[in-house]
Every structure is written in structure tokens, then in C-alpha cells.
Symmetry: C2
Subunit: 155 residues, 2 copies
DNA sequence: AAAAGAATGTAGCTATGGCTACATTGATGC
DNA sequence: GCATCAATGTAGCCATAGCTACATTCTTTT
């Protein structure tokens, strides 16, 4: 690119750059959480459907998660690859032991987060929406704090 | 696919399918939030850097967000497309008015969430990590509830 | 048993969000 | 002024996550 005289050039020396990368770790953690969000949502949905109607089918998951059956299909393939579910063509989807553990932990956390938000006076519908987004980023420490706050309120 | 006799066939009629899609809305909302997360994180980072050293450069953002400069570059192009920032090749990045609004709202929410978690006894470092993930999913209602809880504690 | 309809699968598109490797430009030092 | 190094830009790869359109298979109905 040719030098353009009309383009105001910066003459002064560059300001010293902050070298701290402390915050970077927080963003990294958040990105990592995102990777497991899908697995947790699917595992929980599959567990619920299995409890309710005995099996989880692609259409049911699609309806429940608000995506098309195509997306479900591809995600299930990944979850199978990762040992969360078992599935065979044209058959229902089932959780592995690992999948059941994921679902159970996720469900527990979900319920605590919803209960906690509701205890703060957040309307039920809003609490459910917020919990769905927040829950995957709630560490064990924060979950414990939520539990403790709930217990204190009921004491 | 040929019928495989060894494959246990389901003989009974399919169970009735649950038709409720109530939960789907929650997942949709969460996916929507994800779309704005990046914009908020970048806007906040750019605002902070601009305050601290007068300008935000690609390297600084990369360091701070924990990604490579390539990722920053591409994201900045998108943010420019979306009217959040202005940028010219080889120059610093600046927020538009819209970008400043995003940054300010995001920063405020971030600080409230961190303060709230800390007030529950969550260790500072953990509070920061969790807040980073959670904040983008905190609705105005929940944020108000957090604020109220903080105010009550300081009363 | 054949037709119709529902469910599932597949091909291929878009967008985001990471990355490495390499090219170019800008800033600094000699 | 030129060489060097840092910063920025570009090409192109991969994975996730959504979609429409179409093909196949299964279930139900007639």
C-alpha cells in the first residue's frame, strides 16, 4: 500500500503495552465450558425423555431442544463418539453410564440454580431461561454457595 | 439395510410422543445470548484498553482474550460489520457509540455479578471465572435481584 | 399388501471461532 | 538509510452448530 498523505499518521512512540494476561484464563475457561454445554443439555434431555416415555427419539430431542432433527442427528453422532450415548440407525438413543453421570450432575445443578434464582425473587419463567444459560458456568464453589444460601433461607 | 434377526426388534407400538416444546424457548434464548457474548467481551476489553493506554491494538486484545491475533482480526472485522467498532488496517481499534454502550452495560453487569458472587463467599478468583461465563446469560430481572441482594447485605 | 405419512438419514450450504504458516507493513535501532 | 523485529494481515485448515432439500426407512392405515 502506498503512503497516503491524507491518512493521519501516528507520530509519537507507541504507548507501553500491558503485558498482563490474567484475564485470559477466565475467557479460556468459559470457552471450555461451552464445549461441554451441548453434551450436558442433550444428556439431560435424553434422561428426561427416557424417564417420561421410556426412550428418547430424534424428533423428541429436536422438539425439546428447539433445533431440527438434522442438528440432533449430527450431535448424537458426536456424543456417541465421545461415549455419552449409544445409538443405532432408526433406533432410540440411550445414555451410557458416563452419559447418565453427566445427566444427573447437570440436572442437579440446573435445579439448584433455578431454585436459587427463584429464592431471590426472580420470576419462574425468567429463572428457567437464565438458569439454562448460566448453569454450565457455575463452578462447584459457586454451586455450594448457592446451596448454602438456599439452606440459610429455609432455616 | 437387510433385516438382522440378531438385532432385537421393537414390536410394540411406539409410545406416545410428548408434544410440549416449552423448554425449547429456553435453549433458543441461550443460543441467542451466545451470539452477543463475543461482542460484549471484545467491547469491554477495548474499552478497558482504551482507558488504560489510550488505544486498543490487536496484540493487546489477543493477549487479554487468550486467543491468537488472527482470531482477533477476524472478529474485529465482524464487529466492524455489525457497527460495534471502527478499524483501519494497521491502526488501533476504537468503539463506536453503539460499541461504547455495549461495553458500558457489559462492564456494569460484570461487576455486579462478581460482587454478588463474592458476597456469597465465592473466592475472588473463582467468582471472576464464573462471572465471565454467567454474565452473558443474566437477564435484567436477575441482575436487579442480584443488585437488591447486594443492597440488602450492605444495609 | 400397498399406499401414505412419520421418522430418520444424508448432502451440502452458511456462520462462528479456534489454529498454523506465511506475507506484508510499521516502528525502532544502528 | 537500512536492517531488524514487532505488529498486522492473509490463506487455508479444523470443529461446532445451525439450516434446507432430498432420500430412505419405518409405521400405520386402508
Amino acid at each position: 500500500m502506498a503512503m497516503n498523505a491524507a491518512m493521519p499518521r501516528k507520530v509519537t512512540t507507541r504507548k507501553p503495552r500491558p503485558t498482563s494476561v490474567a484475564e485470559a484464563e477466565e475467557f479460556r475457561q468459559t470457552r471450555e465450558d461451552h464445549a461441554s454445554e451441548t453434551a450436558e443439555d442433550y444428556a439431560e434431555a435424553i434422561a428426561d425423555l427416557t424417564d417420561a416415555v421410556g426412550e428418547a427419539r430424534v424428533v423428541d430431542l429436536a422438539k425439546r431442544l428447539g433445533v431440527t432433527h438434522v442438528t440432533v442427528n449430527r450431535t448424537i453422532a458426536r456424543l456417541q463418539r465421545d461415549g455419552i450415548v449409544t445409538s443405532q440407525p432408526y433406533r432410540a438413543i440411550f445414555l451410557t453410564d458416563k452419559g447418565r453421570r453427566v445427566a444427573s450432575a447437570s440436572k442437579q445443578r440446573h435445579e439448584i440454580v433455578v431454585a436459587f434464582l427463584r429464592s431471590l425473587g426472580v420470576p419462574d419463567h425468567v429463572a428457567r431461561i437464565d438458569a439454562e444459560g448460566m448453569e454450565h458456568h457455575v463452578s462447584p464453589e459457586t454451586l455450594a454457595a448457592f446451596k448454602a444460601a438456599l439452606a440459610a433461607r429455609n432455616r
